[in-house]
């Protein structure tokens, strides 16, 4: 068993690396940079920002001299060997400074007449994607996720995640538990009382919840319980505690997130129960004289849980990503908000941070589900061994 888990973890690590590389590549392919705004920033400011965040680097002048003019333009691609600038050396000779590599200029420093010493920066270039990739991998290897652009470098990605992830986790876990209790309960009842009004009511509700989705459900709940009835506040989040004044603001987001998944769970649980309820071992159990309650608890419930458990992995993924929507609706300061805004703003380190967090979470969750599945279903255990 330990060997299997270890192998899965190793596979997970490789998956994580692939996901990271892909996201890295995708982010750089997407047009526009982190500091592109409606109004472009001056090249000097772009260069200063770029240097701060490893997106730009100085091109030192190989010689001393007086700048005559730059031959290349800002933002234009310059091929290796192409002339960058013309200098007049102290001895009066005109010198051509050529690019030592393919590059894109961010800033040309100074105007003609500027005196440059050898080794002083002549202009500023963009760092290549490969340079950025290697630098990021290096820092990730030291468990350093970098700093966010949105905070102008004042906040580390790790700090943001440490602050926001517990909130998303609290929201997600509460919703998951609520969804499981509601969903499995309703599904079990519906399955056992098949084709009665209980079955119809719970399955219709489930169908409704699945079709509505949190985008509709969230504002609807706010409208009813927040605006009309004024029973519950909404928007924002409170610290973790069991006091009502801290809990009340969490009710609506948790319920919104939970309802959709409760519906899925209910349908799965019902199907699971139906599958086992007519099987021989149930009949045997009943024939042995077990009480109906014991039959349900020991045998039917297990049958109902199997499909639910296998859906837990995807459900967790759904709840985590689904919480992006719910967090947005209810202004919950969780990871979800970062996931969207960081991507839109091309806040590369923050995007990577959330990607790493979510992928690790999913990988671990899937491994956990496999183990749980093995524990529940004897057939899987045999195959794994």
């Amino acid at each position: 068993m330990a060997a299997v888990v270890l192998r899965r973890l190793l596979q997970g690590l490789i998956t994580l690396w692939i996901v990271m590389t892909l996201s890295f590549a995708l982010m750089r392919v997407a047009p526009g940079g982190p500091f592109d705004r409606d109004k472009p920033l001056p090249p000097a400011v772009m260069a200063n920002l770029g240097r701060t965040f490893g997106l730009a680097a100085d091109v030192p002048s190989p010689v001393s001299g007086t700048l005559l003019r730059f031959a290349a333009k800002v933002r234009a691609k310059v091929r290796e060997g192409q002339v960058l600038a013309l200098l007049r050396a102290p001895n009066g000779h005109e010198l051509e400074v050529r690019a030592e590599r393919d590059l894109v200029l961010v800033q040309t420093i100074g105007d003609p007449g500027r005196v440059v010493r050898a080794g002083q920066p002549l202009c500023v270039r963009e760092t290549s994607v490969l340079e950025q990739y290697v630098a990021s991998l290096k820092s990730y290897a030291h468990f350093d996720l970098g700093v966010t652009y949105a905070s102008e470098g004042a906040t580390s990605v790790m700090r943001n995640l440490m602050q926001s992830f517990p909130i998303s986790l609290e929201l997600g876990l509460c919703a998951l538990i609520l969804a499981l209790v509601l969903g499995v309960g309703a599904g079990l009842l519906a399955g056992l009382k098949r084709n009665t009004w209980i079955d119809y009511v719970s399955m219709t509700t489930a169908l409704g919840a699945v079709s509505l989705s949190s985008i509709v459900l969230g504002p609807l709940l706010v409208l009813i319980f927040g605006v009309w009835l004024r029973w519950l506040p909404w928007g924002g989040w409170e610290p973790f505690s069991f006091r009502w004044e801290h809990l009340q603001v969490k009710v609506l987001p948790v319920v919104t997130l939970a309802l959709v998944y409760a519906a899925w769970f209910a349908r799965l649980a019902r199907a699971g129960v139906l599958e086992v309820i007519n099987q021989d071992f149930i009949r045997t159990a009943r024939a042995k004289g077990l009480s109906e309650f014991a039959v349900v608890l020991r045998h039917a419930l297990r049958g109902a849980l199997l499909p639910v458990v296998s859906f837990l992995g995807p459900a967790l993924a759904g709840i985590v990503t689904g919480s992006v929507v719910v967090e947005r609706i209810f202004s919950v300061p969780g990871v979800g908000e970062y996931f969207v805004t960081a991507a839109v703003n091309r806040d590369y380190p923050m995007v990577m941070g959330t990607v790493v967090l979510y992928s690790s979470l999913l990988i671990v969750a899937n491994i956990a589900v496999d183990i749980a599945y093995a524990a529940l279903d004897p057939r899987v255990r045999v195959e794994a061994a």
Binding site: A30, P31, G32, G33, F35, D36, R37, D38, K39, P40, L41, P42, A44, V45, A47, N48, L49, R51, T52, R75, Q107, I109, G110, D111, R114, P121, T148, A150, S151, E152, G153, A154, T155, Q163, S164, T204, L207, G208, S211, L212, V216, P219, L220, V222, L223, G226, V227, R230, W234, G235, G236, W237, R328, I329, F330, S331, P333, E337, T341, R346
Partner: protein, 579 residues
């Protein structure tokens, strides 16, 4: 596999249809309730008993007046830090803050400020001229990488220091003559310089705190400030609390004791908070798009619209046929009914633009912009025919480039319809992400592309500079030696009156050559409880909360009676011209 038409499929379709109906019902219902408040219900509220104030603000990630670039965190910082002068209460000259007065040299290039005696930081340390020198150098330092550094480039030597050409901060045109006197040398006479001083990068920051704590210096446990408020609590993306600063020089006239800032990016949430009374000003988050027309039409007493120093236009590539002919450009411009666009399509109170500059400089500059014709379809048709394309015949296909955004498509489609109806021109629309559009604009690979410009500084020049031949934002490829000359003259002109004449001249050239399609000037709409006084219309949408107070019972009765109570602008800073 179930075949469509089977009973089960029919059941599915039925339940889906019912759900769809339900969804529409709720959607409509939500729309119908629109707003909770009416003028009546707002005027029936009782006056607040305390001196607490609250508003919503979007994503305050960090606080540092030296680095602030966009709105995030701006409203916190502008109430925590102050510079030499601050924005007035409403449109008016800048008001003395850390400085009490200044003198200007005859050439308009040297300003000497007298600092207020006895001003201190919130920790009690006196504020000196050296603090300003250090703070401004910090903004310009390449290591600070401030996005708003260019606001200080009006100072002599500032740009070279920022660019890394010159590494000696001593060459920047700001010196402490003595502890209470600050001398500033500028590149050009800059008649709006005192307005510029109100901007965040010009405030003073506490050297010892920044040096000790680095990027963490604005944490509530470290921060030392000098404004009317101090930062008591700050939870990024959650909330912040400001408390009145007892050491502020004018603390006696600061009314609000506590200011709570709730963080949300959701327009609906910010709106709802206001409607249920959690906030008194809905905040710096935009109002929900679908609510704007409803609010405007409801005539609610708390709904207000401020003009903004921002302009929406389309750049026309002037070197691409058929747009190399100014008659074609003007024909297209005259075929667009902007009035109807603003009034019936956008419905946000937008101000129709006939040129690049919003007409907001009457009070501060005594300058009124050139008003030219914006809509005349007959003349447009005549011009097009004159250019050799009667009824649009023979005109190569035209494409409008715009970036993804709720309003942009609406506007592009509106213009498309106008050109079709009034000129018979068929126009294609090309929608792309902002990054891609920017690349396209910079490369000049377009005929007509959406652009916008928001003022860098409160002066008409900021809008006119865009069309200079070597301006980075001149996407039109417009090159006019005549125009460049006038702009250069404006920069050097110390006399306000002559400068206004030059500004007008530049506007006239631009109007004649028309390298762009002016569309409208932006506005900013917000909600604020009617008992909040001192939050007056301001052309840059700046509202220091130190001016804000609640109505007295007598004033409240007057407001209930339908009166509007305004607090007048304060007197500006005394200024003198040196010999």
């Amino acid at each position: 596999m179930k075949v469509p038409g089977s009973p089960r499929f029919a059941r599915w379709v039925r339940s889906l249809a019912i759900l769809a109906l339900l969804q529409t019902f709720f959607a409509c219902h939500r729309d119908a309730r629109a707003t909770l408040r009416t003028t009546d219900s707002l005027l029936h509220e009782s006056l607040p008993t305390g001196r607490d104030f609250a508003f919503a603000s979007g994503s305050q990630e960090f606080l540092d007046p030296a680095k602030v670039a966009e709105t995030a965190g701006h409203h916190l910082m502008m109430n925590i830090f102050e510079g030499l002068y601050v924005y007035n209460r409403g449109d008016g000259p800048p008001v003395p803050a850390m400085a009490t007065s200044h003198t200007v040299s005859a050439d308009g290039r040297t300003y000497t400020f007298k600092l207020r005696t006895g001003v201190t930081w919130s920790n009690g340390r006196p504020i000196t001229a050296d603090d300003f020198v250090w703070s401004w150098r910090r903004v310009l330092d390449p290591k600070t990488a401030s996005r708003s550094a260019q606001l200080l480039w009006f100072l002599r030597g500032a740009k070279a220091f920022s660019e890394g050409v010159d590494t000696d901060p001593g060459k920047i045109g700001v010196q402490a003559v003595d502890a209470a006197t600050l001398r500033v040398e500028l590149v050009n006479p800059t008649p709006f310089f005192t307005h510029l001083l109100c901007e965040m990068p010009f405030v003073v920051t506490p050297r010892e705190v920044v040096e000790q704590w680095g990027d963490q210096w604005t944490r509530p446990e470290h921060i030392v400030s000098n404004g009317p408020y101090v930062l008591a609590e700050f939870h990024p993306r959650k909330w912040a609390v400001l408390k009145k600063n007892p050491r502020y020089f004018d603390a006696a006239n600061v009314y609000l004791e506590t200011i709570r800032v709730y963080d949300t990016e959701s327009e609906q949430t910010a709106f709802d908070w206001y409607e249920v009374g959690k906030t008194q000003w809905h905040g710096d988050v935009a109002l929900p798009m679908e609510q704007l027309p409803l609010l405007r039409e409801s005539g609610r007493v708390d709904f207000r619209t401020d003009p903004k120093l921002c302009s929406y236009y389309f750049s026309i590539r002037v070197d691409r046929p058929p747009f190399d002919d100014p008659r074609v450009r003007r024909a297209i411009s005259l075929a667009i009914d902007r009035e109807r666009l603003a009034l019936h399509v956008l419905r946000g109170g937008q101000i129709v633009a006939s040129g690049a500059v919003p007409d907001l400089f009457g009070v501060t500059h005594g300058y009124h912009v050139l008003a030219s014709e914006t809509f005349n379809p007959e003349k447009a048709r005549a011009l097009l025919a004159e250019a050799g394309y009667p009824r649009g015949v023979g005109l190569p296909p035209v494409e409008f480039f715009f970036n993804t955004g709720e309003g942009h498509r609406v506007i592009a489609e509106y213009v498309q319809r106008n050109l079709q109806e009034n000129l018979g021109i068929r126009v294609g629309l090309a929608n792309m992400e902002w990054g891609t559009l920017l690349k396209t604009l910079l490369a000049g690979r377009f005929s007509i592309g959406r652009s916008s410009w928001c003022a860098d500084y409160p002066d008409p020049l900021t809008f006119l500079e865009v069309f200079e031949s070597d301006s980075k934002s001149n996407y039109s490829g417009y090159k006019s030696a005549e125009y460049d000359e006038v702009i250069a003259a404006i920069r050097k002109e110390p006399d306000l009156h002559r400068r206004n004449t030059d500004l007008r001249r530049a506007e006239e050239i631009l109007d004649r050559d028309l390298p762009f399609l002016p569309m409208y000037h932006y506005t900013w709409s917000y909600l604020i409880r009617p008992f909040v006084l001192g939050y007056e219309n301001h052309m840059q949408d700046q509202h220091p909360l130190k001016y804000v107070r609640y109505a007295t019972p007598q004033e409240w009765e007057r407001i209930k009676g339908g009166e509007t109570v305004h607090l007048a602008p304060l007197p500006g800073a005394p200024t003198a011209t040196e010999g």
